[in-house]
């Protein structure tokens, strides 16, 4: 076998798999062809000896943080919104019940001495709530006041719940 024949067989060999055994005989007698054969052999095993680099931790963390956010905001927005909506509705209902029931309940259930004792603590809060309460009562007396007030309150509570659920560190940690 000549060097030309050797190189032609090497060229025509399939790109993967074992090389024709006939090449080894000539390679043993010719240094240049031996190098060509070893080069081809090493190329075919490159997967075994290749170096595998890794991304620095901070770059991987950047991508994984994006994955967390995307997973929560985009991959299942329906579920997250639904959960937040139910929570907001329950919270609003509890607030409304407390608003309606608590003042009269407190008067009926609590002994007058306890009310008098708590007055220094509750009066500042009640004074602070007074303007809000009067504005709420005024809004409720308007034609679309009650539905608008309800929707606004729901939107505010929903946003708060949504932000808390999605962004809270405890939620990240749990995942």
């Amino acid at each position: 076998m000549t060097c030309e024949e050797f190189l032609r067989i090497l060229d025509e060999a399939p790109e993967a798999g074992p090389l024709p055994p006939s090449l080894a005989g000539h390679a043993a007698t010719c240094a240049a062809c031996s190098l060509a054969l070893r080069t081809e052999g090493l190329l075919r095993t490159a997967h075994d000896w290749a170096e595998r680099p890794s991304l620095p931790v901070e770059r991987r963390a950047h991508v994984l943080a994006a994955a967390r956010m995307r997973g929560m905001f985009l991959a299942r927005p329906g579920q997250v919104l639904e959960e937040a909506g139910v929570t907001a509705a329950v919270l609003l209902a509890a607030l409304a019940i407390a608003w309606i029931v608590f003042p009269s309940l407190a008067e009926r259930v609590l002994p007058p001495a306890a009310v008098e004792w708590a007055a220094p603590l509750t009066d500042p809060v009640l004074r602070w709530l007074q303007p809000v309460a009067s504005q709420v009562r005024a809004m409720l007396s308007e034609t679309w006041g009650a539905p608008l007030l309800g929707l606004t309150a729901f939107a505010v509570v929903l946003s708060a719940v949504f932000c808390f659920r999605v962004l809270s560190p405890a939620r990240f940690a749990a995942r």
């Binding site: 997967h47 890794s54 994955a67």
Partner: protein, 187 residues
């Protein structure tokens, strides 16, 4: 490259909001993607930028991934497109890499041919890869370094299988010639 076992399940878990699933996917594919981009870009820091960008695009594209090709070739195609876009944005064809680890292990060209070690040939092979035309380099890397089939390389590069075979044929020959020149054993 080995296919990641259970990757369909991981994709489903990611799409249902489990970030650990993407972590697993990324840890498996990242070394291969970074290796390819390092090979193509020639600089580690550029390759890291491109790799990060690739996985952000993978993340963005996973909800619309329909499994027409394997996840592996789909990720490689994104990496290929990210690199191509970067070249286009830079407005020039790439130059060969000079910082790939291959160059640190490059062989001494004056070594007598009879005593050439495998490590020297590997170093010369890696150095020669950096001097190949981009298309040949990419096809050879995917086929030999990352162990993709011809069909998978074709999918990753969005070219016909015949083109891949031609690139491999010419690339192998060019590599042998360059290694021989570097190690003093020109045919």
């Amino acid at each position: 490259m080995e296919r990641l076992p259970g990757e369909e399940g991981l994709v489903r878990r990611h799409l249902s909001g489990d970030p650990r699933a993407f972590d697993t996917l990324m840890r498996h594919y990242e070394p291969y993607v970074l290796g390819l981009l390092w090979r193509m870009a020639g600089e580690r820091s550029t390759a890291e930028d491109l790799c990060q960008e690739t996985f952000l695009k993978v993340l963005k594209g996973l909800p619309s991934f329909r499994g027409g090709s394997s996840l592996k070739t789909w990720i490689y195609r994104i990496a290929h497109n990210v690199w191509t876009d970067r070249l286009r944005a830079a407005g020039h064809e790439e130059t060969g890499g000079e910082e790939h680890p291959a160059f640190r292990a490059a062989a001494d060209p004056r070594t007598p041919l009879g005593g050439v070690e495998d490590a020297q040939i590997r170093g010369a092979l890696e150095a020669a890869m950096a001097r190949l035309p981009r298309a040949q380099r990419e096809a050879l890397h995917l086929f030999y370094w990352d162990d993709l089939s011809v069909e998978e390389v074709a999918q990753a590069l969005s070219v016909p299988e015949g083109t891949v075979k031609t690139l491999l044929f010419r690339g192998r020959r060019a590599l042998r010639e360059k290694v021989a020149l570097q190690l003093g054993g020109a045919p």
